[in-house]
Symmetry: C2
Subunit: 221 residues, 2 copies
């Protein structure tokens, strides 16, 4: 699983980090953004070498045989509206977003939440895309370098298309995730619980004072 063309939508820390890792493991990557000539896109592109490029959201989605959605969760549908259904049809769309809403008082809430999730909304809006929720439960550096966290810890996949989850798992293996760390939580409905981990994750981050942690699930045999 190398030498794919992958479109990464989003030029924030998550998009840039995933884009760079995907280059490292041998893919061609186009980083998509609203503003192709913005500082983030240009900076990443200049450092990316011959296998990296930048484009609009629509260009990056069309470029990719597989597409990663790495915009803020609250902007996910708006970003995909600039792409439209055709460039996404039939493709694995890995949704790594969290719909965080930051209030002036420092409180963080989610929108949508509880009765819906970004993962489900994206799948409903683009039924021909093969949406997989993954990687949204940890900080960007841990996503691409799982060894930053010691011991056994988990990365989740959730989605309605089993083969899309298998392709996502293949990609995670190349990131360094051990096979037994990749945890299939079922259909895209599980995106709801995965996104709702975020308020707890923020409490844990404050408790530990850093983001190099992750979840593990000791369980009886």
């Amino acid at each position: 699983m190398s030498g794919m063309r992958i479109g990464v939508l989003g030029t924030g820390t998550v998009g840039q980090t995933l884009g760079s890792k995907l280059l490292t493991v041998g893919h061609e990557v186009m980083l998509g953004s609203r503003n192709v000539d913005g500082q983030a896109a240009v900076g990443w592109d200049e450092a990316a070498g011959p296998h990296g490029s930048r484009g609009t959201f629509a260009q990056a989605a069309a470029f990719g045989e597989l597409v990663v959605l790495a915009v803020p969760g609250t902007a996910a549908l708006e970003a995909l509206a600039l792409v439209g259904p055709e460039p996404l049809a039939g493709k694995v769309l890995i949704d790594v977003t969290n719909p965080l809403v930051f209030a002036p008082d420092g409180q963080v809430t989610l929108d949508p939440v509880n009765t819906d999730s970004v993962g489900e909304r994206v799948q409903r809006a683009y039924p021909a895309a093969r949406v997989v929720k993954s990687l949204n439960t940890m900080a960007a550096p841990v996503m691409v370098t799982p060894s930053r966290v010691p011991g056994h810890h988990a990365v989740f996949v959730a989605g309605d298309d089993p083969s899309a989850k298998r392709e996502t798992a293949q990609l995670l293996l190349t990131f360094g995730w051990p096979a037994d760390s990749i945890t299939d939580l079922g259909g895209i409905g599980a995106a709801r619980g995965l996104e709702m981990l975020m308020p707890f994750w923020i409490s844990m981050m404050r408790h530990l004072g850093h983001t190099d942690f992750n979840y593990s699930f000791p369980a009886a045999a």
Copy 2:
């Protein structure tokens, strides 16, 4: 920390399991319910021996030097309204609830969620109670027998009163929780994230096929 009088509000699985464990570790326990002569209360009382008794929510709260809130989260304020502020004033009130709402289609949602939590609501409604959110992140058998789950795993405390969290931690030690498993997540606001773990917990339960699991948090040093 034995020989306390403890009121447990709620006769469901969680209330009965915690009540029985509290007897085992040497406390006097009154199990409080809406219906003192209901089957659950009578059955528990008959098996409880001389140190266990049953009463109304108000009687159990008045009886306890420490009170455990183990009703359904959606019924928490209603149950406490039958108690009133006086019997709770100054006492540690351990809130183990989750505000689960079960829809006919099997979907589970939370109410409150995202912008509020049961823990925060209870603390606001009873400002003289010393509310600690704890134990709501796992199945009842794991609460009282942490060794059901192998290895290191976590139990959380969150609340605005540090001494109330210390008393709760003391109680958890007597349940068999190792000191380094007891994780202080800060003020009662962290109850929000702890309650929002539940949809994910349900996905994990379905994934594993049982409830003998818990969370652990591998982290960089």
